[in-house]
Symmetry: C2
Subunit: 357 residues, 2 copies
């Protein structure tokens, strides 16, 4: 029974109105939802703010929206999160678009684009530009609504047991690299290998892999990759990596409007918090990797970067030809990026100045 | 009368409990608060998300927390916002710490530090590091609590009618420049002038000013500064500029815990939204300034930057000697910044790569 009716039933409706002035009665219906994640519970950065996320929603809604978290594999496997939200197995999900690229052609560019937008730029495209509108259109046929859900910030280029001094060195390179970057490595002559995360460490030690990507200093240090590889390369492939909160559209529509707003606001807050966490812990972890583990930082030579860049543009051109929607996504992304690159020069200069003695 | 008592009075307490399952009754007390700002209502970037901020709080609280906005001068002048929150004239404020530096010695470094943290770094220091804790300590004697409230992102170096090609060119330069940067200009031989914002335009045209700072491309274009100056310099002085939401501590403590949490979460969301707005509009406006108004972008020569940098460090050293708390603030800021500078190299490389043909 809803509170409004309840009060009426109790015959105190008029009194309630007088007592609460302009406050309108909240709809007291309780929602008990499941949220499935593409990563383990409490996984550093990716999931470490999720308990806070659901706790705050519960507290602010006064227990009207209770969300139970499920880590990868607890209710559905990591890559089934989107399907689970789409078919209503879970009301909500937390993942990243390129995990569903086998099912949804247009999804992958929303996670990250090599040489593309960094996190602040991506957030701005998502909120102020057309990013969220376009991803909503992509997911619409599946009855899923996408929201902000955090960002890993700029990822490192990965761990290598072989130095890359020329394009020639990429030939046959056995590298684990998901997303668009994996395709670009392939176009540049490497041999991308697809193996589960759990096998990365031993594969690097046994030589099944020459190189691997993971996330960034915080997660890489926790994973112990510094013990399995010699060189840690600066990145080019993921200037940022977007995580998304997914909500089943039908159940979303059953929420009263105050809870819809709360959910929306909480995704902004989650995004801000996840980034702040990555920012701090990546910096501390990189220092540990360099100072304590004597990890050697390397950068790709210019000819390799130019090859990666040309192949990225080629990949995006082909991507844009996949559908009318894909073309609109690439056009919107490229226009926004071009404006941001011009505008970033001012900040870049300050960051250069900071390095002066 | 509170809803809990009200229900009891109506004799339907048990029924209510049964109907709402685990949802506990929200405290129905209504709070009608005032929020005074250091800028006009709807001022681009600084205030343009504030209507959304108070609307969302009202909607999510179901009308239990109603905040009325007052632009600068409507209830109190711009620089009196902190005092108004401290003495309870208004329950909340929106401003920036260096506006209160005449009253509170330790405040100014929280707005911005030349060659210091950019916005993501500052947010991380504020949330994950000691930033918010330290500012809370600074404001504690005045009964004011500080929260996130947006960031202008990296500011430009300002508008000049005289090219700066050497340290010699700074001698006697009549520049309007607030904050630490104004002090640094003075230490470097310039003659900072303090004039109200409303007089900037005519002062630039009449030669009373040789140069002036404002905010960034979005606000500068709206202000029309491109019509009053020849050169637009890249920045060094404000890698980011923090805005704060202020709450009177005593009235904050009268809020039920769900509204306290809502307020806290909304400041995260506000911060995310303000940054996204600046990111987009600064980029678009810079393009307009360059393409349409043929504004000439300049960078300070290295010897000038090195002088600014040395004087900034000197200023911060002196600042740290002002009090035990000032020393802890500077130590915390510098430690965090040093870690972030090392970690920023990876992202900086990607931003350099993006500029390649």
């Amino acid at each position: 029974m809803k509170r409004r009716n309840l009060l009426k039933a109790g015959g105190v409706g008029a009194l309630a109105l007088g007592a609460s002035a302009s406050a309108k009665a909240a709809d007291d219906k309780v929602f008990n939802w499941k949220l499935v994640m593409s990563w383990p519970k409490k996984f550093p950065g990716l999931a470490s703010s999720m308990d806070w996320f659901v706790d705050e929603i519960k507290k602010i809604s006064n227990g009207r929206l209770n969300i139970t978290l499920y880590g990868a594999g607890e209710l559905v496997p990591a890559f089934e999160v989107f399907n689970a939200v789409s078919d209503g197995t879970a009301e909500m999900g937390h993942g990243t678009p390129y995990y569903w690229k086998g099912k949804i052609t247009e999804a992958e560019v929303f996670t990250s684009v090599p040489f593309g937008m960094e996190a602040q730029e991506f957030n701005s495209w998502f909120i102020e530009g057309d990013g969220q509108k376009l991803l909503t259109e992509v997911y619409k046929p599946f009855g899923v609504k996408p929201f902000l859900g955090g960002n890993t910030l700029t990822q490192m280029g990965g761990w290598f047991n072989k130095e890359i001094n020329s394009i020639e060195d990429l030939k046959g390179l056995k590298i684990r690299m998901p997303g668009i970057a994996g395709e670009v490595y392939k176009m540049s002559g490497a041999s991308p290998v697809s193996i589960p995360g759990a096998e990365i460490f031993t594969s690097m030690q046994s030589g099944v892999l020459d190189a691997t990507d993971w996330v960034g200093p915080w997660n890489d240090l926790a994973f112990g990759l510094q013990k399995a590889a010699k060189y840690y390369y600066n990145g080019w492939q993921e200037p940022s990596a977007f995580m998304e909160i997914l909500v089943n559209e039908k159940v979303y529509e059953t929420l009263p409007s105050d809870l819809k707003d709360l959910l929306d606001i909480m995704t902004f807050a989650l995004n801000q918090r996840v980034m702040s966490e990555f920012k701090r812990n990546n910096a501390i972890s990189l220092k540990t990797l360099i100072d304590k583990y004597k990890v050697q930082i390397r950068s790709f030579p210019k000819e390799v970067i130019l090859s990666f860049k040309a192949n990225t543009e080629k990949y995006l051109d082909e991507f844009a030809n996949k559908s009318e929607l894909a073309k609109r996504i690439i056009d919107s992304y490229r226009t926004y990026l071009a404006e941001q690159i011009e505008a970033s020069k001012n900040r870049m200069q300050i960051e250069q100045y900071r390095l002066l003695p």
